[in-house]
């Protein structure tokens, strides 16, 4: 892994978004640090995904984003996205088998641990992607993302197609990862109660601007 070594004493990760403006969204600013996960709500079409895409630098847009005070422009697009772990609401699987979507150099023990934590068997890595259920896809997509060891997680409805037990497993896996890696987390969901569980700062996007909600 080429990501800067941050073992031992874990430094906080801090994502600064400054005056981002894309289509009908923004300009909006937000700072997310690893000690306080942020929740994001808003009706469909309000621009949550556009905002996430802008942070991950997928569309041309205005504004600046910094990770630990380093500007996005210092990274190549691909390096940046490796650090910004964006999990879109729908996962894509291009290979015939699940394991093709995982880098061969990654820590297999860690993958096994994560699989177990989400109630998946290791054998699923050999499964054909076409046979996966939507719940399996959603959980595997999260593990595939964590394997990059991102310093930020932008999670767009990561539990939408999961049953209640698995919802809790995903929430605790993300919270463990957030603690161990000192990762800054933005969690998008429609589920009020879930957002109270997973985040401490709460925002709503309305008409393209970001409105802070009282902490719970």
């Amino acid at each position: 892994m080429k990501i800067t070594a941050r073992k031992g004493s874990v430094a906080l990760s801090c994502l600064q978004i400054k005056d981002i403006q894309t289509h009908h969204v923004g300009p909006l600013s937000l700072t997310v640090s690893s000690d306080a996960a942020v929740s994001l709500r808003g009706q469909s079409g309000c621009g949550k995904s556009l905002l996430m895409r802008a942070i991950a630098d997928l569309d041309p847009h205005q504004g600046e984003v910094l990770l630990n005070d380093v500007s996005r422009e210092e990274y190549s697009g691909s390096q940046w996205r490796k650090n910004i772990g964006y999990l879109p609401a729908v996962s894509q699987w291009w290979g015939d088998y699940v394991h093709e979507h995982f880098d061969e150099e990654i820590d297999q023990d860690q993958i096994s641990q994560w699989l177990a934590a989400l109630g998946l068997k290791r054998a699923i890595l050999a499964a054909a992607t076409a046979t996966l259920s939507s719940g399996e896809r959603q959980r595997l997509a999260l593990i595939r993302l964590l394997a990059n060891r991102p310093q930020v997680l932008l999670l767009d409805e990561p539990t939408a197609s999961l049953d209640p037990d698995n919802v809790i497993s995903v929430e605790s896996l993300v919270s463990d990862y957030q603690r161990q890696q000192a990762c800054a987390v933005v969690w998008i969901s429609h589920d009020h109660q879930q957002l109270q569980r997973v985040a401490t700062r709460h925002f709503v996007i309305e008409q393209g601007s970001l409105i802070a909600q009282g902490t719970a």
Binding site: A56, P60, S76, G77, S78, Y86, P88, S91, Q92, W94
Partner: protein
């Protein structure tokens, strides 16, 4: 020479076949009748014109004229590559990409063959240079057009997959590797197939022409082998170049997928 001259009357009989085909197409509502007539008409006019041009060139043998004629051929082939794309790069980029790929592959291979293999005196003798260039452009154009069309269409359809790969931190080259490979393959497969069946299933047009014109079969065969190798190499290099450059141009400096650089052809 045992060449039997074709009269306009002979050609009119052949044209009757086209009329019958167009009528059938009309009756079956294939929507092709108009295209058939226009294409047939273009064949007649363009070939007549090139006949006149060749007649003139053969009498002069001047490098300048040959360069001029090949430039016209190149630009026409470049335009043809462009209009065959359903989704093409916006503006002049589409034309420039196709034309540059044609130029690099075709001109280099043809120059190589003219100077080192055929070694006519002078090497640019129009009798060799123009037909070779024509065959090269015609075939290379097909490969490049197929490859680029496949590249832009597939990327358009699989944009979510390509972006998902970018999101996971892949570089543009990794994210589009499968599509690029398939596009190059689709550009090259027809010509590879043509080599594989040459002489068994199909008698290549050039060889047929030489034999009809009275050349010894083995001479015609040797030339056909040369042409096949040239055309395959030109098509291969041209397609690889065009698809590789095209795949790069689908992404910007920040390694974002930029499908807004494509525009849909107005049909």
């Amino acid at each position: 020479m045992t060449l039997i001259t074709l009269t306009p009357w002979d050609l009119s009989l052949a044209a009757l076949l086209i009329v019958v085909l167009a009528a059938l197409s009309f009756q079956m509502q294939l929507g092709l009748s108009r295209s058939i007539f226009i294409a047939a008409l273009r064949t007649v006019i363009q070939l007549m014109l090139i006949g006149l041009v060749l007649k003139f060139l053969f009498n002069t043998t001047h490098l300048g004229w040959i360069v001029l004629v090949s430039t016209v051929m190149l630009l026409a082939a470049g335009r043809e590559v462009m209009v065959r794309q359903q989704r093409r790069f916006a503006g002049v980029q589409s034309f420039a990409l196709g034309t540059l790929s044609l130029f690099i592959s075709t001109v280099i291979v043809t120059l190589l063959v003219l100077t080192m293999v055929i070694s006519a005196e002078p090497w640019y003798s129009p009798q060799y240079a123009i037909p070779l260039l024509g065959m090269m452009f015609g075939n290379t154009m097909n490969g490049i057009a197929l490859g680029l069309d496949r590249l832009t269409q597939t990327t358009w359809q699989q944009r979510d997959v390509v972006e998902a790969r970018l999101i996971l931190g892949q570089t543009p080259q990794q994210a589009i590797s499968d599509i690029r490979r398939e596009s190059i393959r689709s550009g090259m497969i027809p010509i590879i197939n043509a080599m594989a069946v040459a002489g068994i299933v199909s008698l290549p047009g050039m060889m047929t022409g030489q034999i009809l014109a009275g050349a010894a079969p083995m001479e015609a065969v040797n030339y056909q082998i040369l042409i096949m190798f040239m055309v395959t190499a030109g098509t291969g290099f041209g397609t690889i170049f065009a698809v590789t450059m095209g795949a790069r141009h689908l992404f910007d400096q920040r390694e974002r997928l930029r499908l807004d650089r494509l525009q849909k052809a107005i049909v």
